[in-house]
C-alpha cells in the first residue's frame, strides 16, 4: 500500500518499502542509471566491433566516411546538444516548481528532436539515391568497395539504433508533457522528469560518438 506523505503543499505517494521521498527518488534514479549501463554495453559492443573492422581497413573506412554530408551531420550534432540543453532547462524548471516553463522546454526539446529525425531521414534518402545502402543496390567504384560497404553496414545499424532511441525519447517527452499538463509535477515531486532528462542526454552522448567515428575521419580527404 502507498502511504501519502505531505511534501510542500502536495501529497506525494510514498511506497511502503521506502523510508522517505528522497530514498524513493534515489532508487528510481539508480534504476535509470543501471538501465543506461546496459545501453552502454549494447552500444559499446557495436563500437568495439566497428573498431575491430576499422583497424583492419583504416583507408577504406576513411573513404566511407568521406561519403558523409558533413554539413548535415554537424547541424544535427549542434541540434542535439541544443535539445540536451533545453531538456536540462526543463529539469531545472521542474525542480524549482515552474511547471509552465517545464512544459515549454519539453515542447521545444521535442521539436528539436523531430528536426534531428527529419535531417537524419533526409540523409538516409541521399544515401539511398547515391546507392550507398548495403545490399545488392550498393555501388562504390574503387578497389575497396566491399570494405566501404562494411563501413555503411555499421553506419546504418548504429545510426538506426540511435534513431529508434530518439523516437522512444520523443514518446517519453510526450508522456511527460501530458503529465505536466495534468499537474503531476511540482518542486517537491519531479522524479519522472529527471529520469527523462537523463535518458535524453544519454541519447545525445551516443550521437556525439557516432558523429566522431562516422563523419570526422574522412573529412581531410574531401
Amino acid at each position: 500500500m502507498s502511504e501519502p506523505v505531505l511534501v510542500g503543499n502536495q501529497l506525494l505517494e510514498l511506497r511502503e518499502q521506502f523510508e522517505n521521498p528522497e530514498q524513493q527518488r534515489e532508487t528510481a534514479s539508480i534504476g535509470m542509471w543501471v538501465f543506461l549501463i546496459t545501453e552502454v554495453m549494447m552500444f559499446g559492443g557495436l563500437f568495439t566491433a566497428f573498431t575491430v573492422y576499422r583497424l583492419s581497413n583504416p583507408a577504406a573506412f576513411n573513404e566511407g566516411s568521406k561519403e558523409m554530408t558533413i554539413v548535415l551531420g554537424a547541424i544535427n550534432t549542434a541540434l542535439l546538444i541544443l535539445s540536451s540543453f533545453t531538456m536540462a532547462l526543463a529539469v531545472y524548471s521542474s525542480s524549482i516548481g515552474k511547471t509552465k516553463l517545464l512544459a515549454i522546454f519539453l515542447i521545444i526539446t521535442m521539436i528539436i528532436g523531430l528536426c534531428f529525425l527529419g535531417i537524419k531521414f533526409t540523409e538516409y534518402y541521399l544515401h539511398y539515391q547515391d546507392h550507398k545502402v548495403p545490399g545488392f543496390w550498393f555501388e562504390y567504384h574503387g578497389p575497396s568497395a566491399r570494405q566501404v560497404q562494411m563501413f555503411f553496414v555499421f553506419y546504418f545499424i548504429l545510426t538506426g539504433l540511435h534513431v529508434i532511441h530518439m523516437t522512444i525519447g520523443i514518446g517519453i517527452l510526450l508522456v511527460m508533457l501530458y503529465r505536466t499538463l495534468l499537474g503531476s509535477f511540482s518542486a517537491t515531486y519531479h522524479t519522472a522528469v529527471d529520469l527523462a532528462g537523463i535518458y535524453w542526454s544519454f541519447v545525445d552522448i551516443i550521437w556525439i560518438f557516432l558523429y566522431a567515428i562516422f563523419y570526422i575521419p574522412g573529412l581531410h580527404l574531401k
Binding site: I30, G44, P217, L219
Partner: protein, 99 residues
C-alpha cells in the same frame, strides 16, 4: 571539492562549451593527422560526454551509490574494449606450429 551550484548560467556555459567542442572537432577533422584523426575526434567526444553526464545528467550532484554504478559501467565497458582489441591486435604475434 564542492561542485558549482547548478544554475541556468552553469547549464548555459556547459552548452556553449559543447558547441565550441563540436566546432573544434569538425575543424580539426579537416587537418590530415593520419591515423590520429579518429583518435582526436573520439577524445573530443569523450570530453563532451563527460560534460553532459556531469551537468546535464547531473551525475555530479548524485549520491555515492550512483557514482559507483556509473564508474562500474565505464570500467566494464573498458574491460570489454581492452580485452577484445588486445586479442585482435596481437593475433599473429606468436608463431603457432602448423598454422
Amino acid at each position: 571539492m564542492t561542485p558549482p551550484p547548478l544554475t541556468r548560467k552553469t547549464l548555459a556555459l556547459v552548452f556553449l562549451a559543447l558547441w565550441a567542442l563540436v566546432l573544434g572537432t569538425t575543424l580539426i577533422g579537416f587537418i590530415d593527422l593520419g591515423q590520429y584523426n579518429i583518435v582526436v575526434s573520439v577524445a573530443f567526444a569523450a570530453i563532451q560526454a563527460l560534460l553532459i553526464a556531469l551537468f546535464f545528467m547531473q551525475a555530479l550532484y548524485e549520491g555515492r551509490i550512483i557514482r559507483i554504478i556509473i564508474t562500474g559501467g565505464i570500467v566494464w565497458f573498458l574491460i570489454m574494449e581492452t580485452l577484445t582489441l588486445g586479442d585482435y591486435m596481437t593475433r599473429g604475434w606468436l608463431p603457432f606450429p602448423g598454422k
